[in-house]
Every structure is written in C-alpha cells, then in structure tokens.
Amino acid sequence: MLFSTGKSFLARFSLNISRNAKPIGLIANYCQVASALRPKKAKSTRKEAQYFSDAKRIRAIGGKGGDGCVSFLQLWCNERAGPDGGDGGHGGHVVFQASNDVRNFNHVGSVLKAEEGEPGSSKDCHGKNAKHSVIKVPIGTVIRNAQGQIVGDLGQADLMFVAARGGAGGKGNRFFTTDKETSPKVSEYGPRGEDLSYTLELRSMADVGLIGYPNAGKSTLLNALTRAKPKVAPYAFTTLRPHLGTVQYDDHVQLTIADLPGLVPDAHRNKGLGIQFLKHAERCTLLLFVLDASAPEPWTHYEQLMHELRQFGGRLASRPQLVVANKLDVEEGQNNFEELQRRLQNPVLGISAKMGHNLGQLLNSIRRGYDRHKDQPQESS
C-alpha cells in the first residue's frame, strides 16, 4: 500500500501536505514570507528540450556597395547629351539593438550578412540603398571583438552597435565630369563591407543558478520546481546547455532558476568545458549548491566547487549562496547528512528532488536569500 507506484504515492503525499498544512500555512504566509505557487498549467508536451543561449560567437558581414554606372545620354534632339551614369546604393550595416523583446541569443544566427546595395543605372538613376540588418539582443549584452576586448556594452534599451559597416555606393561617371573632362568613362566599384567576428555575452541570465558536480540531480530539481523540461538521465554531463525555469510566488514575484552543466575539478583550466560552464554560473545572482549526499564524501564536493569559483573570477565566490543536500531518499544520503551538517558552516537543507521531499522549504529559503540580497546595496555589476 505505501510502496505502490510513484505517481499515486506522490499524489497522495501532496494531498496530505495540503490538507495538514493548510491552516498553519495561512498563518505563516500572513506573518513570514510569500509562498511559492504551484504552476497552473501542465508541463509542455513538446519533445525537444528548450535550452538557453547566453553566449554566441557570430561573424558579421556588411553589404557590398553598388557599382557606379558608365552611361551616356542619347536624346531625340541631342544624340550626345553627356554622361548620365548614376551612383550605386550603399550596402547595409549589421546592427545589434538592445531590446526587451528577447531574452537570449537563440534567434541570432552564426553568420549575419546584410543586403547589398543596388548598382546605378542610366539617366542619373542612383541605386537603391540596402536596408540595415537589425538584430535584437537582450538589454545588458556585452560585445567582444576577436581579440577579446569589450567593444560594446548595450546597457539600456534601444542602444545600437554597428557590428559591420556596409560599403558605400560607387560613383557613376556623372560624378567625374569636370570642365576639362566632359565625357569621363570612369566610375567607381562599390567596396565590400566589413567582415568581422564578435562574441556576444549576456550579462545577467537568471536569479538562481544550480551549481554542482555532474550527476548531482540538478536537472531533476529544476524539473520538480518549475515547468521546465531539462533532460533527466543517470549519467554525468546529461546537461550541456543551461535551461531556465520560472517560479511564481503569491506576491506576484517571479524568480528564474537556471540549471547549469556540472563542474568537475580543474574546471577553471577548461577541463570538461569548464570555462564555458563557469561563465554560465557568472550570469546568475544567487548560487544554489546541489550536493549529492549519496556520494562518498559530499563535503569535499562543496570545497572543490568553491575552489573552482575562486580561481575563475574574484567576485564569483562572493555571490550569495545556498547549500542543498540532494538524494536523501537513498540510505547513504541519510547517513551522510548529519556529517555534512556538522562539517559545513553554512546551513544545509536536505531534500530529495526525485521524491519531492522538503521542496517547499527550499523555495522559502530561495525567496528569503533573494530578498536578503535585494535589500543589500548593489555591489557587483
């Protein structure tokens, strides 16, 4: 009876929670902190995982300018009416514009090419200027060039960065007419646009970042807390790209939680895509350490993770933190939990993401940590 299928057990357990805790919850909500609301909608039925792109390497190519025209006008009454070649049109720029409409770089392609200007034609007709290729990026995007230097910081709405300039239109032979040379046969070729490489980086990605060793249960935790659907599998590095989920509280505050790929020892030396994964952690405000309590010595995992954060960047280790011991439904997890609480200075919360144990307490702790960080003056970024 107690050990029937997981679904029914979970349903009965949640029902028990709601029935027993309802009067106490009402009193607690009124005088303590906001409670996390359950999502009203069911999980999405889409098969593929929707990852979050917070850094992108692009190549921007400006449009070529149109060529100038060599032409001489012939009329009915004046068969040698002089030069009338038109100028070419300008090529388009590649422009990044900061906007609130987008949140990540999923929509930005790897090669961004602007349109070419049209060439000039006879009867002094200038070529058509090409439209600029405007790509919307989130507010707070930092643009690096190929040498790694920061050349753009789109920190406010509608700020634009011209990534690649287009070529100017070439002049037709009408432009080259002088008093001495009344019939020039020269014109200009339209030059090619700039061809440059950039790296777009997002300054801020999520409010909470789940940091831990590979196979510690971070994706399972995100799956349990939010409606996001990261891939869950019992092998290391199941997650290679960050996934985001949103938790809504009853005072209309939404917090985003990012499931980050796992960090291994020597990640700051780019072992196991470590640099890339540490950059994901840098874009989160609150760091939630997910420790595998069923591992042999989970307290050494915490020390190793702190070492990686310190080696990567000076300020990353001073972010507000929460420590969570996962997999308490296993017997080894429960045995290690007392030792873990004794060794770490920070308070450790024991949960089971798979079974759903103690998740309400976790959401309350997240909200409390976020509010405490919000009340402090903004020191970093």
Binding site: D153, G169, S187, S197, N270, F312, S381
Partner: protein, 503 residues
C-alpha cells in the same frame, strides 16, 4: 539632316589643317621635354639645390676617356695622346695613393643621413598620389559638399582578402574583463536619443572602373624600401689594384678638349676606344684576376667588356645581351679591336650568348659578374629623341623598370659562385633604380633561395679617383657609390655597387 551637317563640319575642319596651327605646334612636347620635366620634379626633390648643377651638366656635351688598345701600337698611341695633353689615369692614381699614405683620412660613416632620402621619397610618393587623385576626381563639386578624396587609387577590382584576425580564446570571466579589457568603440555605438549619425558611415570606395590599363606613377616610387629583413653586412673593400697594362687617358678637370679619332694600326685594329669615363669604374672595381670566369650580363655596346679584355687578365668571358642587333654591335667592336678575334677569341675565350639575363641558368659557375642593367639612361634621354624611354608609348616599361633590374640582379646573384663578386651599375641618378633595386634583389635572393651577401664599401678607393670624377657624398647612398655629372668633369651619371656572395 543633322548628320549631313556634321559631315560638312568635319570636312571643313579637316580642310583647315588643325594639326599645323601655331598654338598646337608651340605647345608640343617631345620626349626630351617630358624627360626634363620628370627629372626636374623627381631629382629636384631628391637632390635639392644640387640638381641645378647636375641639370646643366647633363644638358652639356659629354666628356670622354680614351682606352688604349693593347692589341695595337700601344707606345705610339700613348705618345700621341700625351702630346695632346692627356694624362694617364694610372699616374693620377699613383699620386693619389702616395697622398693617401701620407695622411690617413677618416672615411665618413655611411648611412648616417639615410633617413633624409627616405623622407624625401615618402613625401614625393604622397605628393604624386595626391596629384593622381586630383587628376581623376573633380574638385569643388556643384553641390559644394567637399567629400574626402581617397588617399590612394586602385585600378583593378581585385578584392584583397582581409587578413584573418587572431582568434585567441579569452578565458577571463566577464566581471574581470569588464574591469580590465573595456575598450568601447564609440564609433560603432549608436544611441538613438543623441541621433543616428553613426548609421550613415560606410566603407569608402577606392577602386576605379574603366582605367584598368592605366599605370600610376606612384607605383614607381614604392620600389624604394628600407626595411632590412634579411642579414645585411657592409664591409670595406680590403684592397684595390689598378691593372698594370691598362692605359686610360683623360684630360684634367676643367679641360673639355676632344680626342682625335681612332686610327688603324699596323695589325689592322683601331688604336683607342672612346667611352664614358665613369663606365670604366665598374670593370675596374670588379678586380678581375687571371684564371677567373667572368660574365657580362648586359654587355652591349661592349665598352666594359673591352676594358676587361684590355687588362690582359681575362681568360674566359661570356657576353650576354637580349637582342641580336646589340650582339652584332658588340661583335663588330670586338672585331675592330682584337686582331685575332676569329682565331683565338670567338667561341673559345669570348662567348656571345643571346638571352634574357633573367633566364640564364648556369648557376654558381662564374667568379665575377658585371651587371650593367637597362635603366633610364638619364643623359641619353635628355639629349636624344630616338630610343627615348620617355616616349608616351613606353610609360609602362619605364615605370616597371625596377622590377626588370631587380630580376636581372637576383638571377645574376644565383649565377655567382660562393665567394665570388658582382658589380651592379646603372646610368641613372634615381635612388629607386640604384639602392632600391639592390635592396629588392638582396631581399628576393634571401627569401627565395637563402643566399646571403656582403656589400663591399668602395668609399676608400673611390677617393683615389677624386681628381678625375666627382662622386656623390657617401651619406646619400646606402649600398654603393655614384659619379654625378659635374661641369668641369662631365662624366656619368654612373652608380655602381659591389656585392660578394657569402660561402
């Protein structure tokens, strides 16, 4: 109706004879005028106030040197020349050597003011480029907007590949990079609140369509490069020996008398050969010794080859030239001055070869090489209309002559045996054809074939000839020495540089 009227107009215009109008004839420029105009602009910038004296000397009659034929009546010819007042150059050199032994002079260091030549040529290049841009682009357009003109024109639509940027993987965190590596590009950031002017900046056009066969004059001035990215050593020449049997007669400085014409000797050859005095210096400084194989890469008309033969040190000489008519002229000179040309010299000790000097393939076989490359021949183009390189149809050939010269010199350096010597000479005052070509050739043989060379400094030995010639100050030259035109001693111009191939 209109076309018939045009025909009438044309016939009337032809009838009047427009090509013979007085203003057309008055303003007509011939080849010498074009050459003089070019030299006034170019050499006036390079040589400054000294160009006026050189100009006067170039336009005045040439001064000659008589080379006595050792295969004829040597004693009688020498006696005749001395009775006319000529002086043997050997005695002048002996006097100069005695004077040098008494007082040891310090030769001024070379290359001290080399930057003056570089800055002058850079200024000349920039001025020439501005002139070319101004000749094509209209000035002060009708709308009054003065668009910035391109600094340099291109006449082909070959798109240069942009150099690939260095993709160094940056491993710093974002917060650390925001503190250290921020170099915001203000020209690319556009804030709509303060205007969208940054969106109207485009890449400028600089390629001209329709003038693909037009050769820019500024390309000629780019041949002078000074970045030495090959091992370069300049050493003084240790010794100089005037040949014992050579007799060169000249008048003293300021004397512009003429020599008598050559006469036939008892052996049937002519008594002496008239040549430019400065042309004797490259064969003399080549220092040919008995038993050496010698190549004269551009031999015609044969004065330098004949001088080397007159030293009586030569066992094997190869004379090369590109055209058969020039080789025929050389052969005629040899027949006139060597009485046993057909029996002993032709095909055995004197070999005539007709080929391009850039295509000679007898690599590392010659001990001494004399390279008298084709050049602008400054004195000839100012005085003669025929065979003038400043003809309008030969502009491309003239502007690209440093490439030809560098190709010939580079190939001759490959023909040289390791340890052998080469003398490069031109009849031009242009630094581009003199030091510029030597630099190009040395760089080419080092980068392509790994050949290293040593420049021999001849300044100490050219001082021996200062009673006869006027030399350019060593400060203005980098790799060689130059005889400049001078009214009392109207020889030259002749630039020569001695290069030794390292082992």
């Amino acid at each position: 109706m209109l076309k018939a009227r045009n025909v009438c107009l044309l016939s009337r215009r032809w009838k009047s004879g427009a090509k013979k109008r007085w203003n057309v004839l008055q303003n007509k420029k011939n080849n010498c005028d074009r050459a003089l105009e070019n030299f006034d602009d170019f050499y006036g910038s390079v040589y400054g106030t000294r160009w006026k004296n050189m100009r006067a000397a170039l336009l005045t009659r040439h001064k000659y040197v008589a080379l006595v034929n050792n295969f004829g009546d040597t004693e009688q010819t020498c006696a005749m020349l001395e009775s006319d007042g000529a002086i043997n150059m050997k005695s002048l050199i002996n006097l100069a050597q005695d004077r040098v032994k008494d007082s040891t002079e310090t030769v001024p260091e070379q290359g001290k003011s080399r930057h003056e030549i570089e800055s002058k040529l850079d200024a000349l290049l920039r001025k020439q480029q501005e002139r070319e841009v101004a000749s094509i682009y209209p000035s002060s357009p009708e709308d009054g907007s003065s668009a910035p003109l391109p600094l340099e024109l291109k006449f082909d639509n070959v798109e240069e590949d942009q150099p690939e940027q260095v993709n160094n993987p940056f491993k710093q965190s974002l917060t650390k990079a925001l503190e250290e590596d921020v170099k915001l590009d203000e020209h690319r950031l556009v804030d709509p609140q303060f205007g969208t002017g940054g969106l109207y900046e485009y890449m400028p056009a600089h390629s001209i369509k329709g003038m693909e066969d037009w050769v820019a004059e500024s390309e000629h001035y780019k041949y002078y490069q000074t970045s030495a990215d090959f091992p370069l050593a300049i050493e003084p020449e240790p010794s100089f020996h005037y040949p014992e049997h050579l007799s060169l007669y000249t008048y003293e400085m300021g004397n512009c008398s003429d020599f008598k014409g050559p006469k036939k000797c008892m052996t049937g050859v002519l008594s002496h050969f008239m040549m430019d005095g400065a042309s004797t210096l490259p064969p003399l400084f080549l220092q040919v010794k008995p038993g050496e194989r010698v190549l004269d890469a551009c031999a015609s008309p044969g004065g330098k080859s004949l001088l080397m033969l007159q030293t009586l040190h030569l066992d094997h000489l190869v004379c090369n030239d590109i055209q058969e008519s020039r080789l025929n002229k050389l052969r005629k000179v040899m027949q006139e001055y060597l009485f046993d040309y057909k029996e002993r010299w032709a095909g055995k000790r004197l070999i005539l070869s007709q080929s391009d000097a850039r295509n000679l393939d007898q690599y590392e076989q010659f001990d001494k090489i004399l390279v008298d490359v084709p050049c602008t021949t400054d004195r000839h183009v100012l005085n003669e209309q025929d065979n003038n390189i400043f003809k309008p149809t030969r502009i491309k050939e003239r502007l690209r002559i440093p490439e030809l010269q560098a190709g010939i010199l580079a190939n001759c350096l490959r023909l040289l045996r390791p340890g052998g010597s080469l003398v490069y000479s031109t009849c031009s005052l242009s630094p581009i054809q003199n030091d510029g070509v030597v630099h190009m050739a040395l760089q080419k043989v080092f980068t392509e074939y790994g050949i290293t060379t040593t420049i021999k400094d001849l300044s100490r030995h050219t001082a021996l000839f200062s009673d006869v010639f006027k030399f350019e100050h060593p400060k203005g030259l980098k790799y060689g020495q130059m005889v400049v035109p001078y009214l009392p001693a109207n020889f030259g111009p002749m630039y020569f540089s001695k290069i030794t191939r390292n082992v």
